[in-house]
Structure formats: structure tokens, C-alpha cells
Subunit: 545 residues, 2 copies
């Protein structure tokens, strides 16, 4: 199998993640995928699974044929109005997508419908992307993460991009965005769409710009519109549209430290200034709504004027655009189109919460979808970390989806390893926020893993972690011997001197002697001391020499 | 040169960090070290420097001789009372250490004295560690970070540990803790002390335990006391003492998911239960104060009952111990001994701020020194990141020093690469907090770096970053050619399609045409459009093919 340019697309990663198997929970007529972790104590633990059939040992993967068209058999409501999840939800209809999501999230279908109807959650699911396993983006649900992939004029092939999609979803990406530029945009996207189990987002202006040979001043509404329709037909589930970059906001960026850093934003700014006209994305917005409604493509209203540095955070340009996105949100929803709002960028910690507050106020609580934000500018090569700090905080405050940042941000295009590090880092930020928001199920995984850790069930600790392969590898670097996997100590303290081991002995001793409350201790049990002193000497279990 | 066991100690890393030189600012009789970054536009930018003479091309490094004894010529106040920075500060005396710190931090010496006198800041500086370049730990100053090093029974040599100290301070560790266990504890520490430009902390109970062959029940006050004196004599600057693990608190841990995870805490718990007596660290605390006062060793009151999992965060055991640390703080200060308080551990985001609030209330705002905390348990191999999230948040809330966590936490002993990743990650968390707290100088570095980024001064972007080597390496992976270092684009978008480039053009155009405010734009300048449309075509600067 090969693409038009001869590159082979046959090397995607398959098979389950170590310590787990693909499992499907049967809910009515639906099969809900989960990653089932088999623990060494005989228990199982199921976790949310974004990886599609690729981790199913029983699935046949044929990239040319694409994934099974799961949603083709799902019945679409036959009612008046735009054929969108938003319109249906408003009419009180619970769709198969909503039921699928409810089972996935462990919530009631009515909650899903209600949040979608209110515009506080979106289900990006183009009718022309039947391969999709639906997911929901909204603050009452698990925080989601997006991974950007896409080739550029400088780097990478179609094959690499398809594998990046499979790879990113393997590790937990809830959606992916194809940000390809350069050649073969349409073909790359077709391969990705037909093989993606998660919603796919794009920024149509990138492809439109290719059609005018990279000169933003030559863009027209017609070229853009045709590009949007082309992408809707392919099945793109959500589209970033920088319709809030208005002519009068552009001068507000002139005094910034880093001007306009959004690609889409700078393209539209260049167009507006060159023509001295209002953005065609803004003036034709209602036509755009009509197109997106037909396919149920979700708007991701782009923040073309997002701050690109700490100095520019929360400035007039950024918030002026946000107000316009609020207006556009109302217009889109009046057409039945689902909307989410993109957010920054680079923001110091003390200015993060204000972004969420204002977005919710101006945009009717439409799901917020932020890039990080990076909490400092001074660590290129570590911007997955600078941004994970901001991402965790902004998600705790109510952001529904986090766009990942890889270690290569600002420096280069991410390779496969960078994609994985970016995804895992953002799973951490999202999960930390789920815990902080008190998501009903989130802490179960922490508790299971910590129990395994305390009981020295190393294999279970690996299997329950976000990245079992790396956890095992790091463990084996210091203590490679196989018996160490069951050793009652770890390499930090060595066998004689293990706090977990001592602590377990303390617990055992306390329970055995009924020293489980303060009174019992204070009553004095000196006669037990000698016994423990003896037991204490058994702390050292020489499993490994 | 070799250690007693024959291991060579001659491979420490020397020379300046790329793009910078060691520079000394002369302030009265003091020479304040800074890392001076030489920018390609002719400017210089100085940053706080913890690396000691190792990054000075003019320094001769002789590990056997140790570093120059900088503080030997500094005059000690000859007044009544304990010879400590706390006692002197209370008497209104500004010591050379305080002046050194004031110049380093860019603040007034009186602020340093005042914060030390109030016990809100500490200067860990044993009289027997004259090689030290003094640093301050307190919430009104830059957030500091600590790197743990130390061999264990399982792994690593003296030579490796000395290099880890040099390596950790090269990348920004403000203090290091030598947590060696196993053999050669005394000798390893001697090498580290004589060559460390930063304060060194220890946990004396670890060495005391070695003296009783690892059986915690055989520990005595006398063995412990003699170990403390031995370490004071060597020059250790601060010591972790788990004197708050009281007998009656131990049962409070029995129902925890992860019991007692602190090594020191579990050792003392085992001792207390075995003897059914109150901890000798608690009953002999005043004697300990008298010893530490003599050398001006700072207490780091250990949190032996810190939570080891999300489930155990902020529980009764943890906060009971914290109340006792509050009592001990008052006692230590009454002896003139400086005190900081250690904190958790594993804490979900929404429970972090309460830790700082309670610590400040109970411990008279003594500097808080926390390990992370980890914001989730589910990512072993990425716990530098899970904990950087918690560390940034807790530092924003007022924590003065952050103990780093490396990717190997819970899995193995950190190697040299892990130490660097841990240090850089924690510099990010500390700096993010400095920004959020509005530290007067913190944002200058972000602004300089962002300006360099916007102006495509790649070399300056690298030099201003926390890790120039890795930033350059990542850049070169995608665009290795030397001309790309000066290219007006980067690899993310390619040459034709660069938002930074377009944005710079927009700014230039707007300024040239006086389009710098909303009115000018709205006045309409259609005649300028054609001109820009022409300029827009020059966006592509084919520096690299």
C-alpha cells in the first residue's frame, strides 16, 4: 500500500498497551470501548479509551479500507431543523452519540443532552465521519486533550502523519487536529479521516492559503468557502475559524512584544490591512454557519490575537477579540451549529482564571479550548511543562479541552516521541484538573495505583500508569533483575532501608495490637515493645542481593 | 585524585553555559556572581547564578583542595547571644551574608534583615561551610529549588555524587540535599561539602541508622546527637529533623492508602512503636537546638507523616504533625535557630493552598519547603511534571523553596540526565511562581526571550532559555543548517507561511502608515491597500531553500 507520492502507509502501531486488553462494554445496542487493565491480584480496572480498534488484538487493520463505519447504522433523528446534536438536544432528543458518550463517561444520557442543549458542551461529529467513536467536550465531563499533527513544507510525510494520529490516540488524545501545510493537504487528510477513531479538527484557512500560493492578500471568501465545503465533505469534525480578528483590532497588536502569533490570525490581519476591509470570515459568518450546520461540523472559534508572550497576556487585543467571539457564538447557535472557543497561549498563573471567567461570561459558557497556556516564556524545549502548569490550572477553572504542546514547541516539528510526551503530559494536566474538580470517578485510578505502589505490586503500578512502557524502563535501569518486579523494596532506599516496607510493618503491628486509635496508644502497651523490636529486624527481605 | 575506595573524582563539568560568561558584580567588598548572557544585538542580560566557580573560565578547579573559602574573611558580629543570622538580624545587624543576598536578589539589605529577623526567611549557612555563596529562602524573595542527590546501597559512587552536585547547581539548584545511605556516607559528604557553592542539607537519621546496622529500634538519642554534631562539624547547612512524628499520631496513618512514605518518618514511627515512648527527637529537641545554634545550622522540620498519595492528602495525621512542627518552630526560634518547614508530597490541586495557609498560621510564616506536591498519582516516569504543576501552585501561594522531583521518582535513582531534567523543570515552576507573585525583576527574562523570539534571534532565544543546549539541539533536529539560525522563519510553518514574519510585516506596515490606533484604521486608508498587497508578497524571504 502506498500513497500517491509513493510513501508507504503500513507502519501504524497496533496491539494493546502493556498490562491491558481492549474490552467492549455492551450498553443496549452500543459497544463502548475501554482499556481493561488486568491486575496481578485478579481484579480488573477499566479506563477511558481513545485508541480505537488499533489496540484491539481481534481487529483487522486495513488503512486503505479505513476503520469500520460504526455510526452508519446509528439512526439519525428525522425532525425539522438543522441536523445537529445541538438542535436535537434542544428538541429533547437523546441521540445514539449522546448515549455512547454517557456510557463512556459514566453519566446519565440526560446530562449529556442537557449540556449540549445549553451549548455548554459539544459533540464534534460530522455526519461524513462515520468511523468516529463520539466524544464530548464540556466542563461537566472529563477534561479532553487535543494533539496537533500535520506535515509542513519543511518536514514529514503522509505515512508519518497517519502514524502520528494512531500514536497520539493510543496514548490518550481525545481529538486530533490536522494542521498540514504545504503539498498533499487533501490526500493527507483523507488518510487521517478514514482511519481516525477520534474527532478531527482543521484550520481551513491553511489549505485556502495554499490555493493562492501562500499570498494572504489573494484570499477570497469564495476560495475559503469552497475549501470549507471540501473539508466538510471529507468528514472534518470541527474547524478553527479566526472570524474574530477584526480590522479595528489589528492596531492594538502593534505595541505588543510578540504581535500576532496565531498563523490564522496573522493571515487574516494581513488580508484585512491589504484590502482595508473587514474580514470575510466575519462578514460571511452566517453563510459559514449554514454550511457547517448541514454536516454538523462544530465551530472552534479561533483566537487569532492570542498572546504569544507573558508580556501580552490578557491585553486589549486579546479581550476585544473574545468579545467578538461572544457575538459569533450567539449567531452560530442560532443556526444550530455547535461552538467552542479557543483560548491562549502564554499567560502567567495569576492571570489564567480571568480568561475562563470572561470567556464564560461573553460566550454563554461555550466549551473553552485552550493552548496550554504557557506559564512562562523562558523554557523552550520544555514548553510541554511550562504549558502543562497553565493547562492544569485553566482546566481546573473550567476549560473543557486542552490543546497539547510538545517539547519542540517554538523550535521544530514534533516527531513520534515528542507527540507521545506531549500527549502524556496533557493527560496529566487533564487528570489533575479532573481530580481538582471532583469528577466522581477520577480518583479511583490514583487510588488503585497508589495501593499497588504501597503493596509493591510493580507490574500493576506500571499497568495503571499513563505510560507503562516508560515506567517499566525507568525501573529496570536501576534494578533490571526480574525478581525486582516482585521485590518488597525499590531502588531509592535499597533493601535494608525502605520506608514503604517499614510503614507496612508499622501498620501490621498497629492493627495486630489494636493500636489503631490514639487512646490505645496512649494507654501504654510497653509489653508489646519487645515483640515489635524483634519484628523490626525482619524488615530486611533479601529478595535481591 | 581518588577517593578512599579508589573511585576517581575528576570528571566534574566546568565552563560557562552556552551564550554566557561568568561575571562578578562588585558591591562594596563583595563579588556577586551572575551569569552574563551576551546577546547578538550587543546587549547583555544578567541572570541569577548558582553554579559557583565551575562555570568561570578563569577559575582553577581542584576538587581535592575544595572551593576557595569565600566567607573566611567575612567578619562575624561579636555580640552576645547565639551566633546565628536570626539572632543577629533581631539585633538589627546586617551581616555580610545579608548584603551578599541583597545584591544577588536585587533588593535592599534591610528587607533581608527584616525577613530573617521575623523568621519569614532563612539563610542556611553553617560557619563551617565557608565555601558557600549565601542564599536566602523566604517568600518575599525568588522561589528557590533544591536538588536531592546521594548514593544508596544499590547504586552510584562518590565521584558520581560530586558531579551530580556540580551538575545540579550548574542548571540552577539553589541548595542540594545529600541523602546518601549505605557505605561511605561521611566521606561522600566531605567531598560534597568542600566543593559545594550552595547550601547543603542532610537527614542525619539516615546516617544514624547506618550506625545501628539499619535496625531503627536500636537508635538512641546519643547516637543521633553524635551524628548531628559530626555533620555540623563538616559544615552541613540545614538538617531535616522529623521531630513532629509523635507516638500518638502513628495510629492515624494505619487506615491510609499509603501509610507513612517518608523514610525519616517511618524510621521514627518504628522506633516509637517498638519502645512505646515518645520520639527522642521530640523529647531532646531543646538540646538539638543548642547544638544547631552553635554552628548556625538551620532546621528543616521534616514532615514524616506527609501524604504519599492523593487519597491521603490533608488528612488528620498530616495536619496533626504540622501543629507539632508549629510548637517546635517557636522553641527553635527561642534558641536563635533558623527554621523552615517541610511540606507534602501528593496533593490534588484544590487542596494545595490550604497547606500553605495552615503552615503559615501554625508556624509563624516560617519558610515552607515542599516536595512538589504531585497533583496526581497516575504518572510514574513523569512525576517531575505531575509535581511541577503542584509546585508552581504551592509556590504562588507562598512556598519559599521547592524540592525537585525527577522522572525516576518512585521508580529508581536519578542519573545525571534525570537530575538536569528535574532541576530545569523546577526552575520553570519556581519562575512561573515568581511571575505570578509579581517579583519585580522576574518578567524581564521572559520579555527578553520573547523579543528575541519575535525578532528571529535564534541564538539569543537559546542563550536566554533555561537550557540552551537542548533548545539548540531540538531546533537543529528539524533545521540543522547553520543559516537557519538567522532565518526569518522556523520549522513549524516553513518559509512561506510564518505567522511571526507576517505579524512583523503587519506591524511595520501599520507603523509606517500611522495605523497605530483604532481611529486611524477606521478613517479608512484604502489607498494604502495596494501598497501593502505589494509588500505582502515579500513575506517569503528565501534564506534557506
Amino acid at each position: 500500500m502506498a500513497t500517491a507520492n509513493g510513501a508507504a502507509v503500513d507502519t501504524v502501531t497496533t496491539g494493546p498497551i502493556e498490562g491491558s486488553v481492549k474490552h467492549y462494554k455492551e450498553v443496549d445496542d452500543l459497544r463502548i470501548p475501554v482499556r481493561r487493565i488486568n491486575l496481578t491480584n485478579g481484579d480488573t480496572f477499566d479506563v477511558y479509551d481513545t485508541s480505537g480498534p488499533y489496540t484491539d488484538d481481534n481487529a483487522t487493520i486495513d488503512l486503505e479500507a479505513g476503520l469500520p463505519k460504526l455510526r452508519d447504522t446509528w439512526v439519525k433523528p428525522q425532525v425539522d431543523g438543522p441536523p445537529t446534536q445541538l438542535a436535537w438536544a434542544r428538541q429533547g432528543i437523546i441521540t445514539p452519540e449522546m448515549r455512547f458518550i454517557a456510557a463512556r463517561e459514566g453519566v446519565e444520557p440526560e446530562l449529556v443532552r442537557d449540556e449540549v442543549a445549553a451549548g455548554r458542551a459539544v459533540i464534534p461529529a460530522n455526519h461524513k465521519h462515520p468511523e468516529l467513536e463520539p466524544t464530548i467536550i464540556g466542563k461537566k465531563f472529563l477534561v479532553k486533550i487535543n494533539a496537533n499533527i500535520g506535515n509542513s513544507a519543511v518536514s514529514s510525510s503522509i505515512a508519518e502523519e497517519v502514524e502520528k494520529m494512531v500514536w497520539a490516540t493510543r496514548w490518550g488524545a481525545d481529538t486530533i487536529m490536522d494542521l498540514s501545510t504545504g503539498k498533499n493537504i487533501h490526500e493527507t487528510r483523507e488518510w487521517i479521516m478514514r482511519n481516525s477513531p477520534v474527532p478531527v479538527g482543521t484550520v481551513p484557512i491553511y489549505q485556502a492559503l495554499e490555493k493562492v500560493n501562500g499570498d494572504p492578500t489573494q484570499l477570497t471568501w469564495e476560495i475559503y468557502r469552497d475549501t470549507v465545503i471540501e473539508q466538510c465533505e471529507q468528514g472534518v469534525d470541527y474547524m478553527t475559524v479566526h472570524a474574530g480578528v477584526l480590522l479595528r483590532y489589528i492596531p492594538l497588536t502593534a505595541k505588543r512584544v510578540t504581535g500576532i502569533v496565531s498563523r490564522g490570525g496573522s493571515i487574516m490581519a494581513a488580508w484585512c490591512l491589504a484590502h482595508h476591509q473587514e474580514s470575510f470570515l466575519y462578514t460571511h459568518f452566517e453563510e459559514l454557519c449554514e454550511i457547517l450546520a448541514k454536516y454538523d461540523v462544530t465551530f472552534s472559534l479561533g483566537d487569532g490575537l492570542r498572546p504569544g508572550s507573558i508580556a501580552d497576556a490578557n491585553d486589549e487585543a486579546q479581550f476585544a477579540e473574545l468579545r467578538t467571539l461572544g457575538e459569533l457564538t450567539k449567531i452560530a447557535k442560532s443556526h444550530g451549529v455547535q461552538v467552542m472557543i479557543e483560548g491562549p497561549g502564554h499567560v502567567p498563573m495569576h492571570k489564567i482564571v480571568e480568561n475562563v471567567r470572561l470567556e464564560e461570561e461573553l460566550c454563554e459558557e461555550a466549551p473553552f479550548y485552550t493552548l496550554g497556556p504557557l506559564a512562562t516564556d523562558i523554557a523552550p524545549a520544555y514548553d510541554h511543562i511550562t504549558s502543562a502548569i497553565g493547562a492544569a490550572i485553566i482546566a481546573q477553572a473550567g476549560t473543557a479541552m486542552l490543546c497539547y504542546v510538545t517539547p519542540k514547541e517554538h523550535l521544530g516539528l514534533p516527531n513520534r516521541d515528542d507527540v507521545k510526551v506531549g500527549v502524556i503530559t496533557y493527560k496529566i494536566a487533564a487528570h489533575a484538573a479532573d481530580l481538582a474538580k471532583g469528577h466522581p470517578h477520577a480518583q479511583q485510578r490514583d487510588d488503585e495505583l497508589s495501593k499497588a505502589r504501597f503493596e509493591f505490586r510493580w507490574r500493576d503500578q506500571f499497568a495503571l500508569s499513563l505510560d507503562p512502557d516508560t515506567a517499566r524502563e525507568y525501573h529496570d535501569e536501576t534494578l533490571p533483575a526480574e525478581p525486582a518486579k516482585t521485590a518488597h523494596f525499590c531502588s531509592m532506599c535499597g533493601p535494608k532501608f525502605c520506608s514503604m516496607r517499614i510503614s507496612a510493618d508499622v501498620r501490621e503491628y498497629a492493627e495486630k495490637n489494636n493500636l489503631t486509635d490514639v487512646e490505645a496508644i496512649e494507654a501504654g502497651m510497653a509489653e508489646k515493645s519487645a515483640e515489635f523490636a524483634g519484628a523490626g529486624k525482619k524488615v530486611y527481605l533479601p529478595v535481591v542481593s
